[in-house]
Amino acid sequence: MADALKAMTAFGLREPKQVKIGALSIKELTDVALASVAARKGRMADLSRAAAAAGLPLPGPSTHAPGDPYSSFWVAPEMWLVEAPFASHELIADMLRAALGDGASVTEQTDAWVGFDLTADDLTALMQRLCNVDFAMAPDGHATRTVMEHLGVYLIKRGKGAARVYGPRSSAESLLHAVEAAAVALA
């Protein structure tokens, strides 16, 4: 019975999608809870204090800051997208709201996005085909919004051969197809 209540992935499946094309491996993320945190007008100092106490990093522009349990990356002035392990933080928005108080606006984002971890020896050529981010020049931990195959996505560089992509969940198939098509062309 409990098994029947297990949430489906963005692809309508029970298990995360995993694809290997040549040296590239694409792994769908189903174990990450997401929420956005934005400072209310004039309350940035309050948010900084509460975030520091809660162990929530608030990195500068174009940056991803890893942490335990909360990682986050910058998405807009005074606004961040926060990641946490799904198993322990399924109610991430409630948890952040309780921790950050009324200086921040928190919005649940887990089911708005589909995430993929991409790994290969070197992702540069793939990224050159997919988006306009200068992947080779970007430092590790670079996080930015960009466009892949007409879809607005967040791209986080974790190393020369490791990146995470968050795209619109309702376009999961299209985004995966775009990445696969670029990978097949390179393989």
Binding site: S62, A76, P77, N132, T144, V147
Partner: protein, 94 residues
């Protein structure tokens, strides 16, 4: 065309959406300004051959509104500001 975003650095213009004349930010108070002033705001636009201040929205980026000063003849961009900062400098609250 490259727009030098004040926070994110050089970004391709395809990431942005163009809204138009930056004077759109200065909407007159509909309750106190006369109908002439509002008509002017709503319908009248300068169409200069030369320097033009215009609003751009960084849709595929950090979603900020920018005030871009661009030469409409050469497409040279001489200044890019966050619209938020421009409005606040005029004493507006947002």
């Amino acid at each position: 065309m490259i727009i030098h975003h004040p926070i994110l650095g050089p970004r391709d213009a395809q990431e942005f959406v163009y809204l138009g004349d930056a004077s759109l930010m200065d909407r007159p108070d509909g309750m106190t300004a006369g109908i002439e002033e509002f008509h002017e705001y709503l319908y009248q636009r300068g169409n200069p051959a030369g320097e033009h201040r215009e609003l751009w929205y960084h849709e595929q980026g950090d979603r900020s509104w920018l005030v871009v000063t661009r030469n409409t003849v050469t497409h040279e961009i001489t200044k890019v500001e966050l619209a938020r900062d421009v409005a606040r400098a005029k004493g507006r609250s947002k």
